[in-house]
C-alpha cells in the first residue's frame, strides 16, 4: 500500500518535474481565486474593469507558471504538463477564452446577421456541433499541420480544439438566452435611442448572461468531461497516465483503485463547477 502515494501523485501531476510542483499548486490556487473573483464580480463587489484586468492577469500568469520562460522559471515542454492537472489547465484556459470569444460572435449573429463573416461562422458552428469532438481533434492534429506547414504540438491542438468546440456550443446557448429577453426591453431601448453595439453591451449582454447561466454551466461541465478525450490524440492526461500504469504488470491489479481515483477527481471538478453555477445564479439576482 506504500505506492498508493506514488499512484495518486502520478495521476495528479504526471511527468511534471518534482522540484517544480509548487508552480502547479499556485495554478490550482489561481483557478480557485478566479472562480471566487467571478462570484465577487457577480455580487457587484468589484467593478467590471478590475475584473477584466484581474482575469487577464490570472490567465497569463497561470500560463507563465505552467510553461516558464527559461529566465526566471525553467521552461517546461508541453508534453511534461500531464496528469489531472492537464485536465484542469485545459478546462481553465479554454472556458474564459471561449466565453469571451462567443460574446463577440453572439453580437455578430444578433446584430449583423447579414454580414458574410456571420454566415460563415454560423455554418461552421453548425458543422462543429454536428461532429463528435474527436473528429475535430483529429482534424486539427492531422490536417492543420499539412495546411499550414506549422508544427502543432498535441497540447496546442487539444486546446484549440476544445476552444472551438466550446464556442460552437456557447453561441447556441447565448442565442437561446437572447430570445428569452422580453420584447419590451427592446422597445424601451429603442424609445431611449439606445441602439447597435451600445444596446448589446448595456441592455442585452447582462440579461443574456443571467438567462444563460444554467445551460452555460452545463456546457462547462460537458467541456470538463471532454478534456478526458485528449488521451485519444496521445496527450498524457490523467486517463492517459492511468492507462500507462495499468499496462505495467505491477499495477495491473490496482485498476479499481486507479479508476476510482480518476472518477472521484472528475466528479469533484464537475461538482465544484455546478456548485459555482448555483452560487453564481444566486449572486446575479437583481433585487
Amino acid at each position: 500500500m506504500s505506492n498508493i502515494h506514488f499512484l495518486i501523485d502520478f495521476l495528479l501531476f504526471g511527468f511534471f518535474p518534482e522540484q517544480q510542483r509548487w508552480r502547479l499548486m499556485i495554478i490550482l490556487l489561481i483557478c480557485l481565486s478566479h472562480t471566487w473573483l467571478t462570484l465577487k464580480f457577480a455580487r457587484h463587489s468589484i467593478p467590471l474593469k478590475t475584473f477584466i484586468l484581474c482575469s487577464f492577469c490570472l490567465l497569463t500568469s497561470s500560463w507563465y507558471l505552467a510553461f516558464g520562460d527559461g529566465w526566471l522559471l525553467n521552461i517546461i515542454p508541453t508534453n511534461q504538463l500531464s496528469g489531472f492537472i492537464l485536465n484542469i489547465c485545459l478546462a481553465y484556459w479554454s472556458i474564459p477564452i471561449a466565453t469571451v470569444m462567443s460574446v463577440g460572435f453572439c453580437y455578430l449573429m444578433i446584430y449583423q446577421p447579414e454580414l458574410w463573416p456571420t454566415h460563415c461562422f454560423v455554418i461552421l458552428a453548425k458543422i462543429i456541433r454536428s461532429i463528435p469532438l474527436i473528429t475535430l481533434l483529429f482534424f486539427i492534429t492531422l490536417i492543420l499541420p499539412m495546411m499550414t506547414n506549422i508544427e502543432i504540438t498535441r497540447f496546442q491542438a487539444a486546446l484549440t480544439g476544445l476552444i472551438i468546440f466550446l464556442i460552437a456550443y456557447i453561441v447556441e446557448v447565448f442565442k437561446g438566452a437572447h430570445q428569452a429577453i422580453d420584447t419590451h426591453q427592446h422597445e424601451s431601448a429603442a424609445a431611449l435611442q439606445i441602439t447597435g453595439i451600445r444596446k448589446f453591451i448595456h441592455i442585452d449582454l447582462p440579461q443574456i448572461i443571467k438567462n444563460s447561466i444554467p445551460s452555460l454551466i452545463n456546457t462547462y461541465i460537458g467541456l470538463i468531461k471532454d478534456t478526458a478525450l485528449v488521451t485519444i490524440i496521445g496527450l498524457s492526461d490523467s486517463l492517459g497516465n492511468l492507462q500507462l500504469l495499468i499496462a505495467k504488470y505491477e499495477f495491473k491489479h490496482d485498476f479499481l483503485l486507479l479508476f476510482a481515483i480518476i472518477a472521484a477527481l472528475f466528479w469533484m471538478l464537475c461538482f465544484i463547477c455546478s456548485l459555482f453555477g448555483k452560487k453564481l445564479e444566486k449572486a446575479i439576482v437583481y433585487e
Binding site: Q112, E114, L115, W116, P117, C120, I127, R129, S130, I131, P132, I134, T135, F138, F139, L142, I143, M146, M147, T148, N149, I221, K225, D226, T227, A228, L229, T231, I232, L239, L242, Q243, I246, K252, F255, L256, F259, I262, A263, F266, W267, C270, F271
Partner: protein, 353 residues
C-alpha cells in the same frame, strides 16, 4: 456601405487564406505521392474486420468497410437507445416516488454517472470485464452459452427464424382494443417460441484455441453497450424527470381522487402528457449517444469512426479524405435527425399541453 466593404474585405481575406491553405495542402499531399480524390474508396481495403454484423474481408473495397462501420454504429446505437431508455425511465419514475431513499438512490445514480467522463466509464468497464471474466479456455458455461473475456458465445438460429417478429408492429397498428392487442401479441410470441424448436441451431463448439460456430458478441460491443447505456440513461432520466415535473400537480391529485395507484397515475396520466414536453430533449440525447459511439476507437471496436478515421486512415494515408468523409456523414446524420426532431408532431397529445 460599411457592410459592403466589410463583406468585400472579408471575402478577399478569407478566399486568399483558403487558397494558400489549399495550395499548401495540395503540395503536402503531392509530396507523399498521393493525389486528392475519393477514388481510393473503391480500391481493395486489404484488411479484415473481425467484429461485424456483415462480414468484411480484405478483397472488398474501402467504401464497403465504411458502410460496415456505419452498420455497426447504427446497430449499437439502437441497442443503446433501447437499454438506456429503459434504465432512464426506471430512474426517472424512481425519482418521483414518495420514498426519500428511492429519491436519493435515483439522484445519486444520475449525479454519479453524469459527472464522470464517458471515456473513463468505457475504459473502466472494459478493463474490469477483461480482468474479471475467465479466459477462453475456462469459459463460464450455461447450457450452450459460453461467457469469457473474448465475448459471449451462444447458439444461433438461422436469421429467417426471426422474420415473424416483424409482425409485432402490425399488431400495434391494426389491433383495435387493448385486450385484443394483448392476446394477439401473446399468441404470436408463443407460436414463434414453439417454432424455434424446428430450426437448425448452430451450437458453439470447442476447437483447440477458441470456440467456433454459433453467434458471438464481442467484449468490446458489450462494454460499449453497458457504458453508453449507463451514461446516457443518466441524462435521459434527468430529462424525463424534468418533463414529469412540468406536468401540473393537480393532475396527480385529480387522478388520485379517482382512486388510481402510483404506477397507474404515472403510466396512464402523467407520462402521456409529459412525452411531448421531454421528447425533443430525449431525441437530442439519442443523437448525442450516436455521436458518443465514436469513442469506441479507444477500445478498438470497429464502429464507423474507428474504421474511417482509424483503420482506413492509417492503411491508406489519406487523412484529409477520411476526415472529410467522417464530417460529411456525421453532418448528414445530424441534419436529418435535427429535421425530424424539429418537425415531428405529437397529434395525440399536443392539445393537452
Amino acid at each position: 456601405m460599411i457592410k459592403q466593404s466589410i463583406n468585400g474585405l472579408f471575402s478577399i481575406i478569407a478566399l486568399t487564406t483558403l487558397a494558400i491553405l489549399l495550395i499548401k495542402l495540395n503540395q503536402n499531399i503531392n509530396h507523399q505521392n498521393l493525389e486528392f480524390g475519393f477514388d481510393f474508396l473503391f480500391s481493395q481495403s486489404g484488411f479484415d474486420i473481425g467484429d461485424t454484423w456483415i462480414a468484411h474481408t480484405h478483397d472488398q473495397t474501402y467504401a464497403h468497410a465504411i458502410l460496415i462501420g456505419l452498420c455497426n454504429t447504427f446497430i449499437l446505437a439502437i441497442a443503446c437507445v433501447l437499454l438506456s431508455t429503459l434504465i432512464g425511465i426506471f430512474f426517472a419514475i424512481l425519482s418521483t416516488n414518495h420514498s426519500r431513499w428511492l429519491k436519493l438512490l435515483s439522484s445519486a445514480y444520475i449525479n454519479l454517472f453524469r459527472n464522470i467522463p464517458l471515456l473513463v466509464q468505457i475504459l473502466f468497464f472494459y478493463t474490469s470485464i477483461l480482468y474479471w471474466l475467465p479466459p477462453i479456455e475456462e469459459t463460464l458455461q450455461f447450457a450452450d452459452i459460453h461467457l469469457s473475456n473474448r465475448g459471449l458465445f451462444f447458439p444461433k438460429a438461422p436469421s429467417i427464424a426471426f422474420l415473424p417478429l416483424l409482425l409485432i408492429p402490425l399488431i400495434f397498428i391494426k389491433a383495435t382494443s387493448f385486450k385484443n392487442r394483448k392476446n394477439l401479441f401473446l399468441g404470436l410470441i408463443i407460436i414463434w417460441g414453439v417454432s424455434l424448436f424446428f430450426y437448425d441451431w448452430q451450437i458453439p463448439t470447442r476447437t483447440r484455441f477458441s470456440l467456433s460456430g454459433g453467434g458471438q458478441l464481442s467484449i468490446e460491443w458489450f462494454t460499449l453497450l453497458i457504458a453508453l447505456s449507463i451514461y446516457s440513461s443518466s441524462y435521459i432520466a434527468e430529462c424525463i424527470r424534468g418533463g414529469i415535473h412540468a406536468i401540473h400537480k393537480h393532475q396527480t391529485e385529480s387522478a388520485k381522487s379517482l382512486g388510481l395507484n402510483h404506477l397507474q397515475i404515472m403510466i396512464k396520466v402523467i407520462l402521456p402528457q409529459a412525452v411531448p414536453i421531454f421528447m425533443p430533449a430525449l431525441l437530442n440525447q439519442y443523437l448525442n449517444l450516436t455521436k458518443n459511439i465514436s469513442l469506441a476507437i479507444a477500445i478498438g471496436y470497429p464502429d464507423f469512426f474507428g474504421i474511417t478515421a482509424g483503420t482506413i486512415l492509417n492503411q491508406s494515408g489519406r487523412s484529409l479524405e477520411c476526415i472529410l468523409v467522417v464530417i460529411c456523414i456525421y453532418g448528414l446524420i445530424n441534419t436529418i435527425s435535427t429535421y425530424f426532431i424539429e418537425n415531428i408532431s405529437y397529434p395525440k397529445w399536443k392539445n393537452h399541453v
